[in-house]
């Protein structure tokens, strides 16, 4: 496979697509599929056949367009008209509009709104436009060009150099500089090295990686291949959650297609570079997002982390140097190679370069997947892209980083989104879950929810996490029921500090974050539960007043403080 062959495939595919004047692309992502997009596709195909328009118009499946709450989404190309909430009955109207050229107003989703115009897409640029089942379509959109170019024209060191220059940092949450990680693995001397793609997206309220794997599986493969070439690895593993069957299916198909074209396997592009990719299924353990736990899981063991160093870059899978990157990180690599590290570094601000994909969910008008340049403010995300809070309710907090992150209150909304600024307010960038909460959410309940999660997902290897999270959960439970005293609150704060600083891995070290951040910004809610035995949001159910003997004593103590 040479660049010319690749261009040949792209040309044929474009010619094939040009045979039809119009394309109706039906989103087949998980959200739209749940809203019966397959039936919509069948209805559209049927309608086109009935009218004998097969020659003029083709119906194709596509990936996620982002506005998941308004599914099923249908796009008419080349006009780019987007329709939302399409039901099989609506197929007739859409087909009619193809002939008349008029837009079906009642289904029309305007793409000139901030939800679309304020986004900047790099990782998701092809998502929704190409057919995830066809490698040819990916190639027609410039896919695998970066790989072939890198293999035939660049040395591994040059590929590495571009990634370093781009300033790309890990998108799984930690934010470790990707170029630095790659060069550590590249420097390691070993007969065998591995690349692992971390697709074990465990944060509740996050589905970015799922969408990337489902909508553009070849982008992930190309990123892995480039990583493998740069660091000198020959085998790659994609660790995907078993809960994502569609992603697994699409990745499996993509691997087969890439192998057939000689873009994967032995002597890719007639160079000495060989690379194999295998899929490993996760089995539902949040801790496996931690890199050493993930490695244990691929080795067929329980997913328990081990102390670092040695870091996986030196001693990882089966003791060999291993590069572990998140799905989104790897999906950023092909465009960086195609357009240059300097181009990427111009997006974003400070030490956070490029774009970030967020799953914007919760109490927000436009629920869905968004990609924004780093440095955008939370206010822009919530009120412009997200369209604000529905039902005239008041914004209370936005939660980022899942069980490892924190709640950011309204007075911090003008904060720019960067790794450092989010950390400065007690949260983290995380993998990209962004859950908006309004006045109907109780912050004590939210903290309890995340602590229950961390407690249940603690692997049990180290004591601070195993015991500490359980103790913190019980304290939060008592607070939420109005059974706690102010001493309990002090104990909770002590425990937060202890678990944060003494746990073995990231799960335990970050488990107290939701409590710390809610205590910092919403302490009044904790006090309302303890002193007044009242949940201001009306979420928590207080236990019977029999437990209430301590109230006057409490009020006294609080007065003393």
């Amino acid at each position: 496979m040479l660049l010319d062959d690749l261009h040949g495939i792209a040309k044929r595919e474009r010619a094939e697509q040009a045979r039809h004047e119009q394309h109706i692309v039906v989103c087949t992502g998980t959200a739209c599929a749940s809203a019966r997009s397959a039936e919509v596709q069948a209805a559209l195909e049927g309608g086109i056949k009935v009218r004998g328009l097969e020659k003029r118009c083709a119906v194709t499946p596509g990936g996620c367009r982002g506005l998941c709450a308004a599914g099923p989404l249908v796009t008419v190309q080349p006009q780019g008209t987007l329709y939302q909430g399409v039901h099989p009955e609506d197929a007739e109207a859409i087909i009619e509009s193809l002939e008349t050229g008029a837009v079906v107003e009642r289904l029309h989703c305007h793409t000139d709104t901030p939800f679309f115009t304020r986004q900047q897409k790099v990782v998701l640029e092809q998502s929704g436009l190409l057919n995830p089942d066809r490698v040819e379509d990916y190639i027609a959109h410039g896919g695998y060009e970066a790989l072939v170019h890198a293999l035939t024209e660049m040395t591994p060191a040059q590929v590495l150099e571009e990634v370093v220059r781009s300033g790309l940092r890990g998108r799984g949450g930690g934010g470790y500089p990707t170029g630095l990680k790659w060069s550590t693995v590249a420097k390691a001397i070993s007969d065998q090295k591995y690349v692992i793609c971390n697709g074990d997206e465990g944060d509740p309220g996050a589905f970015m990686d799922r969408s990337v794997m489902e909508s553009n599986p070849h982008r992930v493969l190309e990123g892995m291949l480039l990583a493998g070439y740069a660091v000198g690895a020959s085998v790659g593993f994609i660790y995907v959650r078993a809960e994502y069957p569609l992603a697994v299916k699409r990745l499996e198909a993509a691997i087969k297609q890439a192998k057939k074209l000689g873009l994967l396997g032995a002597n890719i592009c007639n160079t000495p570079f060989s690379f194999e990719i295998e899929i490993r299924l996760g089995a539902g353990a949040f801790v496996c997002g931690e890199e050493t736990a993930l490695i244990a899981s691929i080795e067929g063991e329980r997913g328990q982390p081990r102390p670092r160093p040695p870091y996986p870059a030196e001693s990882g899978l089966w003791g060999k140097p291993t590069l572990i990157n998140n799905v989104e990180t790897l999906a950023n690599v092909p465009p960086i190679l195609q357009r240059g590290g300097d181009w990427y570094a111009r997006i974003g601000m400070d030490k956070s370069k490029g774009t970030k994909v967020f799953a914007l969910t919760g109490r927000i008008v436009h629920t869905g997947l968004i990609e924004v340049p780093m440095g955008i403010t939370l206010r822009e995300i919530v009120y412009e892209i997200g369209g604000g809070i529905p039902d005239g309710k008041q914004f209370k907090a936005v939660q980022t980083g899942g069980p490892s992150g924190g709640c950011i209150p309204a007075d911090q909304l003008d904060l720019p989104v960067t790794y450092e600024s989010l950390a400065s307010v007690g949260s983290i960038m995380g993998s990209g879950g962004m859950i908006v909460m309004d006045e109907t959410s109780c912050m004590v309940d939210v903290a309890k929810y995340f602590m229950e999660f961390s407690m249940a997902e603690s692997c049990g290897k180290c004591v601070p996490c195993r015991v500490g999270t359980a103790q913190m959960y019980q304290l939060l439970d008592r607070i939420s029921k109005g059974e706690a005293t102010l001493d309990d609150l002090a104990l909770l704060e002590d425990l937060c500090d202890m678990v944060k600083h003494t746990s073995l891995c990231g799960l335990g070290q970050s488990a107290p974050n939701p409590v710390i951040s809610t205590l910092k910004y919403f302490r009044d809610e904790y006090l309302a539960h303890i002193v007044e035995r009242r949940c201001p949001a009306g979420v928590c159910k207080m236990s019977s007043p029999a437990h209430n003997g301590h109230v006057s004593e409490l009020a006294h103590k609080e007065g003393v403080r």
Partner: protein, 174 residues
């Protein structure tokens, strides 16, 4: 080492699928999780017999097989009911009312998460997050994600399973 081929515990054809997975991975101990996935897909759950057979073939101590099978949430050691109903408790679903849905199902079926109703009809499970946050709150009925549910709508689906069964019985009797 030549891969060993141990005779399956019985002549159930599904053992072949399990054997195929192990062979694909060269009967290496690292194939344990992949193999358990295949067993669960074929048999619906992991029983004593299958754990033993997998341990024997992959030359892994039974204690480790049991350890792995119980460590991961996805594996179940108990047979499931005829239908499964997975309530997502991800953050987005949680703040949009998933706890009410869970409570409604628990009350109606008188079961807790991880249990199966007395008539073996419905198994109730909870998920950490199924990644369908755009559809919150979401429930997975027999593998099909249904979103934007309220407690009544969530129960209606379960009741429909029962109603269909009643119809079939009536039909057979009639």
């Amino acid at each position: 080492m030549q891969p060993k081929k141990l005779t399956p515990p019985n002549d159930d054809k599904r053992w072949r699928l399990v054997g195929a997975t192990m062979r694909k991975h060269g009967f290496l101990p690292s194939a344990l999780i992949e193999t358990l996935h295949t067993v669960q897909e074929a048999f619906g759950y992991l029983d004593d017999q299958s754990l033993r057979w997998v341990a024997l073939n992959l030359r892994v101590p039974l204690s480790r097989v049991y350890g792995v099978a119980t460590f991961y949430n996805y594996f179940t050691l108990k047979p499931q009911g005829e239908h499964t109903c997975v309530v997502c408790l991800g953050t987005a679903c949680y703040i949009k009312g998933a706890p009410d849905i869970l409570e409604a199902i628990q009350a109606q079926e008188d079961i807790k998460p991880g249990e199966t109703s007395a008539d073996k009809k419905v198994s109730l499970l909870i998920a950490r997050c199924i990644g369908a946050c755009g559809l919150a709150p979401a429930v997975v009925y027999d593998g099909e994600v249904v979103g934007k549910l309220g407690p009544e709508q969530a129960l209606a689906r379960i009741n429909a399973w029962r109603a269909n069964k009643a119809e079939e019985v009536a039909h057979a009797a009639g």
